[in-house]
Subunit: 401 residues, 4 copies
């Protein structure tokens, strides 16, 4: 056991941090201004593509994708501290082509895609030329139990016909978003976890209708957005099926493990940034004759934040290590644990920082409120905390049953 | 001691509840649609004025204002359960002309305004014809310590000249908002709590510039908004001074007590609505073969929410009772306590409800996220929790010093 | 609605407080010393009977027992603030003949006892001449579900035969403890809540064996103790049955309501005393150059404690009010709420006080650790928190089902 | 970075676990019985020395003491998981000669003792022939600020004269306890952290008086105990001074780092055992028609416990790793963090287990309440949480000042 990052990781950390300081942080406000001043909030602020080009040129590109010729050849454990750095800024992950849900979708295509699917969708995704979305959750049912999913995927000759309503399809508001991976019920008579499939649906297919963009708290998350999408007799060629009929849950297992841990790494980055901002703020602001930093209560917030972050980071790193060494399935309990822990502590740290900032904290002047809203969704996305807790308990109780 | 509302209160509760069910709740979405479809988000959706007219006609108007000929003659204790009902909907308080900051401003004018000031500003406010804002907080200093306030109010002949920058002037985005009560430093050499004054500044005075509207967790809170305002050599007649020079903190004491308790009553209403929505949702939604309502963890949320709400309500009622019987000053500790307790528990209940709703909870489909963001500001507005806690402790320790 | 105690209550509060200061507090250490120096820890320290005589003489005796000719004629609401004062000292309740489980047992006898039972057991209990215990919980089953109870009460001619093992029979170690109310299974084929009975069992009946005294966090709670009792073919006359066969749960309902609220009132008294002790301590002790009372974190503890106590007290008073006005059954939700809230907050306040006292806090030099241990049992006694929470949720959900 | 224990550690873990199962656990109740049945609670139950002999024979002896010829040659990181296993039983640490305060005292002697001091005290301690205590804390001052310490150590010719009152000298009740390391004020005019010294005081020196044994909650912790000791003109030879006059804080720094981390490792062991006991219990006990293990709330406790333990363990291991690699001083922040985290989470897990056990949980039938009381002292011993939190915050803020 040891707790040192490898030299390879340290070098990448340094490069990434420098890139963040030189390129990303200064452009956060530029991004917001370009967005605010563009005709539509659903256009891509030019600075984003500029940053992407710079990141690609710097070799800071596609750092996710362990065990694959397509990625940067990093293990989950190596990627974790890098992903954390990206998580410090809401606009950073895409700059490095490491943003959800594209990373998860790319992982699906790498693992389960046909050569044609890879050529058509994976390659442009890896190059950052197009974006994709993932359509799983549905408005009419409790998605905490994924087997509730009702959208239909039915074979009809050489095609599949898709009908249903999905929401929280993140990224579907982006004009560059070309394809959705849609999960739906294809084999209703099969065993419970073999009834659903995943299929590729180009967003320009007739019958695909983006009904609305859902706000998160008051944020529209433009230009990506979270879409409610109606699939109305949408027909795609049979070869768009991923892997095979009934493999939806099998793919989801493979997809969600890494996807979850990426979210957690970023959560820790967000928490780390909030702590830094809070520290900077409290040494500057004076109330009742002394800097806030000298208030015992504020110092307690800082200490608690540091303790929570350190612990959550170590647990995330251990989960990554286990994914690398014993595989995503054996690491299930650890993944479930960080899925609960990381957003929970990140919300706590962000909330303390907001409180320390006063009203500025809930505004757009600092990225705290926006990060908070984002983190809040992670206690629901990819399974609510409660479902993960029950899964952890189930495993924990197993030896005693 | 007894715990029954008076018949008068019960009657008003019934009327208000019916009005909420018949008029307000159904119009929440109408309000949002009109706002979304109007040319500017800073226009008043017509439904708002329609509802106001209905409320006025029904006698549900200006229910705040204890001990005053201008109001409905209700004590704080009588008003509390009514204000709570209004707090269930974000658009309701204005419907009954009981919304912040107008109520606080009206109280200031009733208590400290000159006959001319009353005529000019109080009367149209009471009639709901104009709106007002309150400019106290400043971006450059820690407002938790109000003596930090730096905006200047300087006498120059028959006028006062105002210079400074204020933010979080709620309501200043509203086209009907005609006047600000501005607090600033007028007598820098006086004792610490006699240096500041409050003065009436019509918003159309030259030199008043609304710099921007500040978002709250992504919400613009249109058409009212929270404004950052620049006061640049703004000149107003000397008779706009409220009470007298140096009375700023004295007025603030009088203004903030009732203002704080109104917020708390509404916080409890928001929590109560969240609990109701949560209960309705969990009996309907099925996961893993049974309604969410049968999950022990969800039931624990419901029980905890009920316990927190009941306690916070009783404490708020007791604070109101004390304001009525021993006065706002003697009730200071109780006011500080509810100021901490009410938004804290309301945030907890709302957060649980959001979690129970899944992704729908963070969206606009239910008023949970919007209420949450609103409540979150109340842990900062009118003094952050930490300042109130220190005040409570100070009083608590007094007998032992 | 109003929040003032009646003059009658205020007068009794004053008398009780004076009695506490003059008699009880100074004798807490005397009691401990007499106990430590007596041959056996299961003898009654003489000071206890002396204090009882003084309390009786002062008319501060049997203040519980609402709606009964036997008691002091106080309502639950009137008794609550008095019981709270008694709860400040672990030895006080018995001084006033208001200690558990005797109060609950006396209530049972008042309500459901036959004239003979009253004469034989109620009268000496009311006079403080004997003590009693209550044998309900069993070691072999989860007592959170009372229907699990397995001890048998079987009719045999003119007698009942009792067999089984009970534990946590509080007070059974006391040499003055003469009788147990035993609850057991008498009618196994009846409907679920009509299978159990309560019966009076003199402790000197052959077959009654006190197996051991159970410690609570190391405390033996001498000279009362919590006993594990074996009932081995114990025969009592048929007239010892209380009310009638199968009425066990009906009686328990009636018994536990008041019993629970008394515990809660005392919990609040314990919390209040801890807060007072903490305040006294922190103004005296100096660390890092200033009194602990000037540390922000300590002040936060004090403020939080005050807020929690105030709320819990109000909720307890409201529950008492409802018991008086709508009855114990209709007040069930409120009773369940305070049963969860009161010990929970009292443990929090005590824990903070312990922390503020440093190592002295866990010792016997202050009553904090002993109160803590006592309060900790109340999250289990008369139903664990979790069962009460589920009951609250059940009631809360009812309107929506 | 990797998260696997070395083969050496795994082997020792296995041996220790087997020893615990075969020797220690079965003897926990034997130890208690022998203690209960001996004439005095301050005699050593024979089973303890028997177990020590077995552990020594098995080579499971003195596993602490990194970087020293005297110990087993384990690093802190290697010792951590072993110490954790010992922490599962309150009687285990001494069985392996790894109990506080002897380990800390031995570390002091190894690092700072003269050859004569080593010969006289270290050797019999390493052999487990004698025990020692550590006299630092004082009843009259707030020990959270160690510079408050008032006991005097004054040079008088070839001797030092010690005067003062110490308490919480753990182990001083043990008949085998022969020596105390006493810390006191020797150089009142030196700089703040050079005023105090540590000196060896044989307990049979005239003037040393054990005033009383302090209980922890209701536990006397016999046969070791926590003593209040009066030092009344106690004279020891000058060569009993450790290192040199004024080095008290320097030694304390060196002593407390490892001492603190050992406590934390044991805390995690205690938590782990509580979780295991809870799991075993809830699969067995049935309430409301199903095992407690099927209650969602209970499962949440189990999941939360697992998450807290895993994180605290990782943080402790990292702190141990840093002590090994960068030294105790550079690892100060990490040591402070685990000092806060480990007992905090261990108390939470124990409290949940107690609640799951019902009344059995607060009794002596399971080691939960005893472990809880023990862990509770660790939020105070070696510095209260609050002091450690302030230290963490201080370090955290440093880069921004």
């Amino acid at each position: 056991m040891h707790f040192e990052y490898s030299d390879k990781v340290k070098k990448l950390q340094k490069e990434l941090q420098e890139f963040m300081h030189e390129v990303v942080y200064p452009n956060e406000s530029v991004f917001e201004e370009q967005l605010a001043n563009s005709e539509s909030r659903w256009q891509i602020p030019p600075v984003l593509e500029e940053m992407k080009a710079q990141a690609k040129a710097a070799g800071l590109w596609n750092l996710f994708l362990p065990e694959s010729e397509y990625g940067a050849g990093l293990t989950n454990l190596e990627y974790a501290p890098l992903c954390e750095i990206m998580g410090r800024s809401l606009i950073a992950p895409e700059v490095f082509n490491c943003n959800a849900p594209d990373t998860g979708n790319m992982e699906v295509l790498v693992r389960y895609g046909s050569p044609e699917q890879k050529k058509k969708w994976l390659e442009p995704l890896l190059e950052g030329k197009i974006r994709s979305c993932f359509s799983m959750t549905e408005p009419q049912v409790a998605s905490s139990d994924a087997t509730n999913m009702q959208a239909r995927i039915e074979r009809d000759g050489d095609e599949y016909v898709i009908n249903g309503r999905k929401w929280w399809s993140t990224g579907a508001g982006d004009p560059r978003c070309k394809v959705a991976i849609v999960m739906g019920l294809s084999n209703p008579d099969a065993p419970r976890h073999e009834r659903h499939s995943m299929i590729l649906v180009p967003l320009d297919t007739p019958g695909v209708k983006i009904v609305r963009i859902l706000p998160v708290f008051g944020y529209d998350h433009a230009p990506h957005g979270h879409a409610e999408i109606e699939f109305n007799n949408v027909r795609v060629p049979a070869e768009n099926m991923i892997w095979a009929e009934g493999k939806g849950f099998a793919i989801a297992q493979g997809r969600l493990g890494p996807g979850r841990i990426h979210h957690c790494m970023r959560s820790i980055g967000a928490a780390e940034r909030a702590l830094e901002l809070m520290c900077r703020r409290v040494v500057d602001r004076v109330a009742f004759g002394k800097p806030l930093a000298e208030q015992g209560v504020i110092r307690e917030w800082i200490a608690d934040s540091r303790m929570e972050i350190e612990q959550a980071r170590l647990l995330t790193l251990k989960a990554a290590y286990m994914m690398d060494t014993v595989g995503n399935k054996a690491a299930q309990k650890e993944i479930a644990m960080i899925k609960v822990v990381a957003p929970t502590i990140s919300l706590k740290v962000l909330d303390r920082a907001i409180q320390a900032f006063g009203a500025a904290g809930v505004s757009e002047d600092f990225p705290l409120a926006a990060h908070w809203a984002n983190q809040r969704t992670l206690r629901l996305a990819d399974g609510p905390d409660e479902v993960h807790r029950q899964a952890i308990a189930k495993q924990e109780l197993k030896p005693y049953l």
